[in-house]
């Protein structure tokens, strides 16, 4: 497989501009002759679908929720970055670019990241024009807060509901196009296959989640904005429905999967409390603006937090990373939390927790100011734990949150299947081995509002596509593949529920491919996962039938894909014999326990190519070059 990144020539500041000039255009009258399928209505898919329709393309948009407004982006809390430098604190496109490349531990493509930083400023303008109620100062200007991995305040926010407000902006733009008849919306519809004809993506096969009907949709191009795959771990901060099915099935049709093992474990989540637990809840990173992280100095100190004197507390992030303190990047803060808990200094009933304490901030600015900044997060915390974080420190622990890996895409966001484009968390593009806080919303909207709208024209105008419709044999083959799988899942009627398998898979992944990984563990996982997968196909019990709303069936299909993806993640983690960002291989660390990269051998993107169900996937490599940000060990000390 050839990986052509299609990064334009020229100085990095000019690449995107000159590329836009060089790309072909589709004239306005011709746009309506093209049909574009957009799978996903989150920030990436929703913004993409709305913008493509505004330009005049004929768009079909799909999501599995009952409304496009419920895409998982709705849950993002803390904020969105942009290099506006409204605070006059030294920010610039150059600095956002630098922070993101460094934050990603030098495993992302420089040209993409630079473009992202450039576009970030347009995103804020666009969102404000749509009526997104970002936080403001008394003078009426936009307010900012700080996020991890940066020393400037460049994060725009709408209380603790930034994702909700940004998504509603995109959703409203999308509904406007639906109202005008430019977008046909298919809610409660799940994409189960991509159809490739003559080597290019020409459509998808879906299941109507209410009637169970398997249907085909033909198009001139397909865009996936289907989100991340953190739910491989069962417990994560993702919504219950978030899944890998769309990208996984595309992978099996020839789209390379990049850096599958790059997973982000977020340092501040509410700790797990029991086996019945169905998900973990994030407490936004923005809380680290005002909250101080600590554990008792002494092992096994079970005193109540307010009775532990200052001198017997260890504010370990401030101690270990004095220049970034509580705002150290996520991978680093998570590993530090794991370390202090492994030392026996963790707090709470399970010992897997650290304090996030607001007492100092409340004393400094008052309870009302804290309520105004984080009110809804505090309420959320109280609902779940029955504790009042204005009085007692929050207890937090790291949890799976985001996946930097995803389908490989070129500079135009096209996968290795021509005509199949991938946006947002579903692609691998901009975050390297660790994503900085408030950068996923930025990337999703950059991809959706500003990039795909330009690059898709270049694809459509350059390609002579033959006319195809859904009677084509390739659609029939995909439909029957999908129906067969459904039948098989329903016919098994074994002794275990889908969730019981998913939980067990999650435990294996957390244990062996989670915050710390090593060769022996990964090899164990690679033995356990196929065994469990076999058992799944023998023993799973999916009740009900195929021709109605059947949530167990939906889950079963997703978990079947998670099994296969989990294996690829472990394989990728095993192959990458270095530590970088969220990928921490215990064998490769510095004397003080920081990630030790090996740029000589691993400065590349791993792009895995499917080779058949029985064969080992093929590893392709896209070398990464760093011309503008010099390779250095990441330091936040």
């Amino acid at each position: 497989m050839e990986l052509r990144s299609r990064v334009p020539d020229g100085p990095i500041e000019e690449k995107w501009d000159s590329h836009r000039f060089d790309m072909k255009l589709v004239n306005p009258a011709n746009k309506r002759k093209y049909t574009v399928i957009v799978v996903g209505s989150g920030l990436a898919g929703g913004a993409g679908a709305a913008t493509l329709a505004e330009l005049g393309y004929n768009v079909k948009c799909f999501c599995f929720q009952d409304s496009p407004r419920r895409a998982h982006s709705i849950a993002a809390q803390g904020g969105i970055n942009a290099a506006k430098n409204y605070q006059n604190d030294g920010d610039s496109v150059q600095r956002l670019f630098y922070d993101t490349v460094k934050g990603g531990d030098f495993r992302s493509r420089e040209a993409n990241v630079y473009r992202l930083a450039q576009i970030s400023v347009n995103i804020i303008d666009q969102c404000v024009a749509q009526g997104v109620p970002f936080a403001r100062e008394y003078g009426g200007l936009l307010a900012n807060r700080s996020f991890g991995g940066a020393q400037v305040s460049r994060t725009f926010y709408a209380r603790g509901q930034t994702g909700q407000q940004l998504l509603l902006g995109a959703y409203q733009a999308l509904e406007r196009q639906i109202g005008k008849g430019m977008v046909t919306m298919y809610p409660r519809t799940e994409m189960l296959d991509v159809v490739v004809i003559d080597g290019v993506a020409r459509g998808i096969v879906t299941r109507n989640l209410i009637t169970g009907a398997i249907e085909s949709h033909a198009a001139d191009a397909v865009v996936l904005g289907t989100g991340g795959y953190g739910n491989v771990f069962y417990l994560s901060t993702n919504a219950k429905g978030s899944n890998a099915t769309a990208i996984w099935r595309a992978y099996k049709r020839g789209a390379a999967f990049a850096n599958p093992c790059f997973t982000q474990i977020h340092p501040t989540c509410i700790p797990k409390s029991g086996d019945y637990q169905s998900k973990l809840t994030l407490m936004s990173e923005s809380l680290r603006n005002d909250g101080r992280v600590w554990v008792p100095l002494a092992k096994g100190d079970k005193r109540k937090p307010d009775t532990i004197p200052e001198a017997e507390r260890d504010y370990y992030l401030e101690r270990m990373y004095p220049s970034y303190g509580n705002l150290a990047p996520r991978d680093i803060a998570s590993r530090a939390a794991k370390r202090v808990c492994d030392e026996g200094r963790g707090v709470g009933p399970t010992g897997l927790g650290v304090y996030l304490d607001f007492a100092a901030a409340i004393a400094r600015v008052g309870e009302d100011a804290i309520r105004e900044r984080y009110g809804n997060l505090f309420v959320m915390y109280q609902r779940i734990t029955d504790e009042n974080p204005y009085r007692v420190p929050m207890r937090i622990y790291p949890a799976v949150h985001y996946t930097m890996g995803g389908l490989w895409v070129d500079y135009n966001l096209m996968s290795t299947i021509p005509g199949l484009h991938v946006l947002g968390e579903a692609n691998f593009s901009d975050h390297g081995a660790n994503r900085l806080g408030a950068s996923a919303l930025m990337q999703g909207l950059a991809d959706g509002y500003f990039i795909i709208s330009n690059t898709i024209a270049d694809y459509l105008a350059a390609k002579k596509l033959s006319a195809v419709d859904t009677t084509h044999a390739a659609f029939k083959e995909a439909e029957s593949r999908v129906s067969e799988m459904t039948k098989k899942l329903l016919a098994t009627k074994g002794s275990r529920t889908v969730d019981s398998f998913h939980r067990e898979l999650g435990n294996i992944m957390w244990e062996y491919c989670g915050m710390a990984r090593n060769e022996a563990g990964l090899k164990t996982a690679l033995e356990k996962i196929p065994k469990l997968r076999e058992e799944f196909w023998r023993e799973v019990n999916v009740p009900g039938s195929a021709d109605t709303l059947n949530q167990a069936l939906e889950k079963a299909g997703r978990v079947a894909d998670f099994f296969e993806l989990a294996e690829l993640m472990c394989r990728d983690a095993l192959e990458r014999k270095e530590s970088c960002g969220g990928h921490f291989r215990e064998e490769y660390q510095t004397a003080d326990g920081e990630a030790l990269r090996d740029d000589e051998h691993y400065a590349y993107v791993s792009a895995w190519e499917y080779a058949g169900d029985k064969a080992t996937p093929v590893l392709n490599k896209e070398p990464l070059e760093f011309e503008y940000v010099h390779l250095a060990q990441r330091s936040y000390k």
Partner: protein, 257 residues
């Protein structure tokens, strides 16, 4: 905890429905209501029965998917709390709990506890937006927005579109939902050009969907998991009256021109 559930079961939109009794045993008081439902569903599955269908996704009170009438209250007994944020510690051990779908004419039942809320999407499509095609925006700080206006906009923009307001309303009105969006956009300078057109179009769509009229019972604001105030409805009504007056002026103006 051990509980008795009486749950609405309905196989499909046209099928008849009925309440069916289930036992939920050894439930942790720390479990959420939906986690309790998961436990019941796992047991049903292993007994060879069909699990109870219910909508959910984020399980943290923001996506608006979950939608259960619990003991006659939309989202259950606690204020400002979506079903997914409700924990079993809010119930007495041994209690009998009634669980039903939203009962609103404009939200037909899809299956068991799932309803079709696409009417809300159509209300937004009718005018719940600011026309601002991608690319043409000026610098975000060029237009100042007073903090009070932006805070008020945010209070109403917090709506999660779950439908509890309509489910709680004796008239089956979705005025709170509609008014929340109208208020959000009407507070902002960017929302002014379409302000009066928006209110007319959205209200017309609300009525066309078969939602009832508002007679200010106030049940909606008590049920709203985001505690959106009924004041938004007064604001909507005021804008609607202004819009009506304006449209007469426009017609008069048009006639003489």
């Amino acid at each position: 905890m051990n509980l008795t559930l009486r749950v609405w079961r309905q196989a499909g939109p046209k099928a008849p429905g009925k309440m069916v009794e289930y036992k939920a045993t050894e439930i942790s008081p720390e479990a959420s209501f939906l986690e309790m439902m998961d436990v019941v569903n796992d047991e049903l599955t292993l007994k060879g029965e069909e699990p109870i269908a219910f909508d959910h996704d984020c399980r943290e009170g923001i996506c608006g998917s979950c939608s259960m009438m619990i003991d006659g209250h939309a989202h259950g007994p606690n204020q400002g709390t979506a079903t997914c944020q409700l924990h079993m510690r809010s119930f007495e051990d041994g209690a009998t709990i009634f669980v039903e779908p939203w009962r609103v004419r404009a939200f037909p039942v899809v299956k068991d506890l799932c309803v079709d809320r696409s009417a809300f999407d159509r209300i937004i499509a009718a005018g719940g937006f600011i026309t601002a095609a991608t690319g043409g925006a000026q610098d975000a700080n060029n237009v100042l927005v007073p903090k009070v206006a932006s805070d008020l906009a945010m209070d109403s923009a917090a709506c999660i579109g779950c439908g509890a307001c309509a489910a709680a309303c004796p008239n089956g009105s979705a005025s709170l939902f509609t008014a929340a969006k109208i208020t959000h956009l009407a507070q902002l300078p960017q929302g002014q050009p379409e302000r009066y057109r928006r209110v007319v179009e959205m209200v017309a769509q609300h009525d066309a969907e078969g939602f009832g009229g508002c007679t200010l019972h106030g049940e909606c604001q008590l049920a709203c998991p985001k505690e959106i105030s009924i004041d938004t409805i007064s604001r909507m009504n005021r804008d609607y009256m202004v819009a009506a007056a304006m449209s007469q002026e426009e017609k008069v103006g048009g006639g003489t021109g």
